[in-house]
C-alpha cells in the first residue's frame, strides 16, 4: 500500500572524484531521480566550513537520508564526520527538544575494497560492515531515525574490470525508486546485514507481479 512519495537526501563524500570508478557513477545516478536531492559535500564545502543552517534545513525537507561514500578506514571520509559533528546539534537532532529527525529513514551506501569474505568474523577485517558502522547506527538511533542495513559493493577496486558496476548501479536505482515510492519493507531492510539482499527480494516480487 504505497503512501505519499518520500523525498530522499543523498550526502555524497569523495575527496578525489577524478579517481572514482563507482561512487561518481552512483552519484550521477542519484542526480537523475526527481525525488532525490544529491549533494556533493566536498564540492559545496571545499574548506570544510559547513553551513549548519543550510544543512539542517535540508534534513528537515527530506524523509530519507543516505550517506554515499567509499569506506575510509572502516568509516566515512573526513567531511562526513565534520558534517555529523556540526549539523547534528543538541536541541536539533538529539536532546530534549531535538526531535527534528524523528521518524526519518537513514542508511549508508558505501564501497569497500575488501571482499565480502574479508568482512566477516573469520576474515582479515574480523567484523562485518554493519558491525563496523555501528557508530552511525547508534547516531541514527539517538536521533530517532530508522536505521537500515548498509548498501555495499565489495571488492570495489576490481568491480570495473569484472563488469560488476552496471548491475550495482541498477540495484541502487531500484532501491531509490522503491524508497521514494515507499514500497520497501523497512523492518526487513533494517534486519539484514547488507541492504543488497532486500533488493534481490524486491526485484523478485516485482518480476512476479509483472
Amino acid at each position: 500500500m504505497p503512501e505519499e512519495r518520500k523525498k530522499i537526501l543523498v550526502l555524497f563524500a569523495h575527496p578525489s572524484q577524478e579517481r572514482s570508478e563507482v561512487n561518481k557513477l552512483l552519484f550521477k545516478a542519484c542526480q537523475e531521480h526527481s525525488d532525490v536531492t544529491a549533494i556533493d559535500l566536498y564540492r559545496e564545502y571545499p574548506t570544510f566550513h559547513i553551513n549548519i543552517d543550510r544543512e539542517q534545513q535540508r534534513l528537515l525537507e527530506h524523509q530519507v537520508i543516505i550517506f554515499l561514500f567509499p569506506l575510509h578506514w572502516y568509516s566515512t571520509p573526513a567531511i562526513l564526520k565534520q558534517w555529523q559533528d556540526l549539523v547534528l546539534e543538541y536541541g536539533f537532532a538529539y536532546g530534549t527538544d531535538g526531535t527534528a529527525l524523528k521518524g526519518k529513514t537513514f542508511f549508508c551506501a558505501t564501497t569497500a575494497g575488501g571482499s565480502e569474505k574479508a568482512y566477516q568474523g573469520d576474515g582479515y577485517n574480523h567484523f562485518t560492515i554493519r558491525e563496523l558502522l555501528t557508530p552511525l547506527e547508534q547516531t541514527a538511533n539517538l536521533c530517532g531515525m530508522r536505521y537500515l542495513a548498509p548498501f555495499v559493493l565489495f571488492s570495489s577496486r576490481n568491480a570495473s574490470e569484472e563488469g560488476r558496476i552496471p548491475g550495482h548501479i541498477d540495484a541502487f536505482n531500484t532501491l531509490l525508486t522503491s524508497l521514494a515510492a515507499n514500497t520497501l519493507d523497512l523492518s526487513h531492510a533494517a534486519s539484514l546485514s547488507v541492504l543488497n539482499q532486500a533488493l534481490m527480494q524486491e526485484t523478485q516480487t516485482a518480476s512476479q507481479t509483472r
Binding site: I52, E89, Y90, Y94, G95
Partner: protein, 641 residues
C-alpha cells in the same frame, strides 16, 4: 588637391554606405565593396580612369594580408592539422585545377592559360566563408572545421602560385607589352637592383635579400620593437610596423621578387615574437582599408559592355565552375568521411571563387599570362560566384539542414569539454601568479602586458607573453578574445580595468571576466560593469596576516582560522547590501562617491556583527562544534522516565 579630396570622399562614401548594407543582407563585406565599386564606377560613372592607378596602390593591401597570414601561422598548429591540410586542401586544389584546366583546353584555351585559370578558380573566398560561418555559428561543426583547413591551405597555396605564375607568361603578350613599353619610351622603367646582372649574380642577390629578411626579422626586429615600444608612443609603433612591411616589400621589388612573398616570409619569422599581436592590430586596419579599396576598384573596373556581350558565356562558366568545385568537394567529403549535413555544408560553402581570384587575375595580367579581355570576363565570373554564395548558404539552411535534422540522432554529449583560452591582461606579480597556476593545470593562456621589460623578463623564464595594451579592442581581437572563455584583468589602471570590463561584457557577453580590484570602491565599480568574479588585491593577504597575528598573541590556531572564516562570511553577507548602498550613492552624486562614509558604515556593521557573535553563541556564522549543555544527560533521562 580638391580633386583628390572629392575622389577620396566618393570612395569612402560608397564603402560606408554599401558595406554595412551588404553585411546586413548577409552578403559579407567583400561583396559590399564590390557593389560599392560597381555603383560608383560603371553605373553612376563618378570615378573613371584613375581606378587603374588606384588599384596598383590598393594591391598593397594584399601584401599586408599575406604578412598577416604569415603572422598567424604557428608552426605547431600547422603540424597538428597536417593531414587535413595536405589531404583535403591539397586534393581540393589539385583536382579542381585539373578539371577546370581540362575544360579550358577542351574549349580551346592554351594549356598555360587553362592551367592558370584552374588555379584561380580553385581558390575559395576565405573572407566570405569564415564570416558567414561565424555569423551562422557553423565554425565548430565538422563541415565548418574541414572547410577552414581547406581555406587555410588555399591561403598558403597562394604563395607558390604567385611564384609560379610569372613563369607561365605568354611570349606573344610579353612581346606586345614590350613593344608598347618601347613606344612609351624609357622613362617608365622600374627601379631594379638586378636589371643588368648575370644569372649567377642575380641568384646570389635574391638569396641575400631573403636571408636579410629572415635573419633581420629574427634578430634585429626584437631590439628595434623594444626600443620603439619603450618610448610608449603608440603611433610610432604603428609607424614601425608599416615601415617594416613597406621596407620588405621595397626590398623584394628591388630584387625582382613578389613583395607579397617577402612579407609573408617576414610574417612567419615574426609569428613567435612577443610583438605579434601588437603588430597584427597595427597592420590590420591598413590591410582592411586597402583591401576594401582593392575590391572597390575591381567593382569599378567591371565592364558592363563585356558583361552584356558575353552574358551567356559568363553565366555558363560561373555555373560550370561552381558545379565542378562543389562536385570535387563533395567527393573529397565522401573520401574523408565527412557525413550527412556536414558533407553538404563543406561542399556548398566553398563552391565560390574568392578574393584571391581577383588578386591573381590582376597579377596574371601584369605578368602577361592571360589576355586582358579574358581576364575581364573571368573576374566577372569570380564576382558572380561570390554573389551567389549567400544563396547557397540559404539553400543549406532551409532545404538541406531540415532534412538531416530529422534523420540524425542527437550527438552523444562529450565527457571532456574543450577548454578555451584564458587571456590574462597585465602580468605583474598578480597576473604572474594567476598565469603560473593556470598553466600548471594545463589551461592555455595568452598573456598581454604593456611593459616591454616585463614581457622580456617573462620570456626569459619561458612564459609565453605578448607586448601590447590589453585595453585596445584590436589587440584583444588578435589575441583571440572571440574564442576565449575567460579574461583575467590584472592591469594597474583602475579606470581602464572598468572600461575594459564594460567593453568585453558589451561586445563578447560569453567571455567570463575575473578581475582584480584595487579597493572596495573599485570592486563595486567592476561588479557594476559586469565582472563575474572580483577579488580585492590585498584582502586575502591582509586576512592571513591578521590570523597569524592572533595566533602569535595566543589564540589557538584552529580558533584563529575559524575567526578568519567568520570575518569572510560576514563580509559576504554584507556585500550585497553594501553594493546596493554604493549604487544608490553613486547615482546620487555620479562622480564624487563618498567612499569614506561608506567604509565607516561597513566597519560599524561588521564590528556590530562580530560583537553580537560573542554574545549569542548560537548565532549562525561563528558556529563551530558546540558541545551539548553540561547536564544534558540528566535532562534526557528525565524525559524518558
Amino acid at each position: 588637391m580638391t580633386a583628390y579630396f572629392i575622389q577620396a570622399f566618393i570612395y569612402l562614401c560608397a564603402a560606408v554606405i554599401a558595406v554595412p548594407l551588404a553585411k546586413r543582407l548577409g552578403l559579407g563585406s567583400v561583396l559590399g565593396y564590390l557593389i560599392a565599386g560597381v555603383v560608383i564606377g560603371p553605373i553612376v560613372g563618378l570615378v573613371g580612369s584613375e581606378t587603374n592607378t588606384l588599384q596598383h596602390f590598393a594591391e598593397f593591401g594584399v601584401v599586408m594580408m599575406l604578412f598577416l597570414v604569415g603572422l598567424e601561422l604557428e608552426p605547431r598548429m600547422l603540424w597538428d592539422m597536417r593531414n587535413k591540410l595536405m589531404g583535403l586542401g591539397g586534393l581540393q586544389i589539385g583536382l579542381t585545377t585539373a578539371v577546370i584546366m581540362a575544360a579550358g583546353v577542351y574549349f580551346g584555351l592554351g594549356w598555360s592559360v587553362a592551367f592558370t585559370v584552374g588555379l584561380i578558380f580553385a581558390l575559395s573566398s576565405t573572407a566570405i566563408v569564415l564570416q558567414t560561418f561565424s555569423e551562422k555559428n557553423l565554425s565548430k561543426t565538422e563541415g565548418g572545421k574541414n572547410a577552414f583547413s581547406v581555406l587555410l591551405f588555399q591561403d598558403i597555396a597562394v604563395i607558390p602560385m604567385l611564384a609560379l605564375i610569372p613563369l607561365l607568361a605568354l611570349p606573344e603578350l610579353v612581346e606586345k607589352a614590350q613593344a608598347l613599353a618601347g613606344q612609351a619610351a624609357e622613362h617608365h622603367e622600374e627601379l631594379s637592383l638586378v636589371a643588368g646582372l648575370p644569372g649567377w649574380a642575380y641568384g646570389i642577390t635574391v638569396l641575400l635579400a631573403i636571408a636579410a629578411v629572415v635573419v633581420g626579422g629574427h634578430y634585429l626586429s626584437r631590439p628595434l620593437f623594444r626600443y620603439v615600444a619603450s618610448s610608449g608612443l603608440r603611433e610610432i609603433f604603428t609607424a614601425t610596423a608599416l615601415m617594416l612591411v613597406i621596407g620588405i616589400a621595397a626590398l623584394m621589388s628591388l630584387v625582382g621578387l613578389s613583395p607579397a612573398l617577402g612579407t609573408f616570409l617576414a610574417g612567419v619569422v615574426l609569428a613567435n615574437s612577443e610583438f605579434r599581436h601588437e603588430l597584427e592590430s597595427n597592420i590590420e586596419p591598413f590591410k582592411g582599408l586597402l583591401l576594401g579599396l582593392f575590391f572597390i576598384t575591381v567593382g569599378a573596373g567591371i565592364d558592363f559592355g563585356v558583361l552584356a556581350s558575353n552574358i551567356g558565356p559568363v553565366l555558363g562558366i560561373t555555373a560550370g565552375v561552381m558545379l565542378v568545385k562543389a562536385a570535387v568537394l563533395f567527393l573529397l567529403a565522401m573520401v574523408f568521411k565527412i557525413k550527412n549535413s556536414d558533407r553538404w555544408l563543406f561542399a556548398l560553402s566553398l563552391a565560390q571563387a574568392g578574393e584571391f581570384g581577383f588578386v591573381l587575375l590582376s597579377y596574371t595580367v601584369q605578368n602577361h599570362v592571360i589576355p586582358t579581355d579574358l581576364a575581364q570576363m573571368l573576374s566577372l565570373v569570380v564576382a558572380l560566384s561570390m554573389f551567389l554564395t549567400p544563396g547557397l548558404f540559404i539553400l543549406f539552411d532551409k532545404v538541406i539542414l531540415p532534412r538531416y535534422e530529422k534523420s540524425e540522432n542527437k550527438p552523444e554529449a562529450d565527457e571532456i569539454t574543450e577548454r578555451g583560452t584564458v587571456i590574462i591582461a597585465g602580468i605583474g606579480r598578480f597576473g604572474q601568479m594567476v598565469n603560473r597556476f593556470l598553466v600548471a593545470n594545463k589551461i592555455k593562456t595568452v598573456v598581454l602586458d604593456q611593459s616591454v621589460d616585463q614581457v622580456a623578463n617573462l620570456r626569459k623564464i619561458n612564459v609565453k607573453s605578448f607586448y601590447g595594451d590589453a585595453t585596445q579592442p584590436d589587440l584583444l581581437h588578435t589575441a583571440g578574445i572571440e574564442d576565449a572563455s575567460m579574461l583575467v584583468i590584472a592591469i594597474d589602471n583602475n579606470e581602464r580595468a572598468v572600461e575594459l570590463t564594460k567593453y568585453i561584457k558589451r561586445t563578447y557577453p560569453k567571455v567570463m571576466i575575473f578581475a582584480r580590484a584595487f579597493d572596495r570602491g573599485h570592486h563595486f565599480e567592476l561588479k557594476h560593469a559586469g565582472a563575474d568574479f572580483i577579488v580585492s588585491e590585498t584582502y586575502h593577504s591582509a586576512l592571513e596576516l591578521g590570523k597569524e597575528a592572533l595566533i602569535a598573541l595566543g589564540v589557538h590556531p584552529f580558533k584563529a582560522e575559524q575567526k578568519k572564516a567568520t570575518l569572510r562570511e560576514l563580509e559576504l553577507c554584507y556585500k550585497d547590501s553594501l553594493y546596493e548602498m554604493w549604487k544608490k550613492k553613486s547615482e546620487d552624486s555620479k562622480y564624487s562617491t563618498h567612499f569614506r562614509e561608506l567604509f565607516i558604515e561597513l566597519e560599524t556593521a561588521i564590528a556590530k556583527a562580530m560583537k553580537s557573535e560573542h554574545l549569542d553563541e548560537q548565532a549562525r556564522v561563528e558556529r563551530g562544534w558546540t558541545p551539548p549543555p553540561k547536564d544534558y544527560e540528566k535532562r534526557m533521562n528525565e524525559n524518558e522516565e
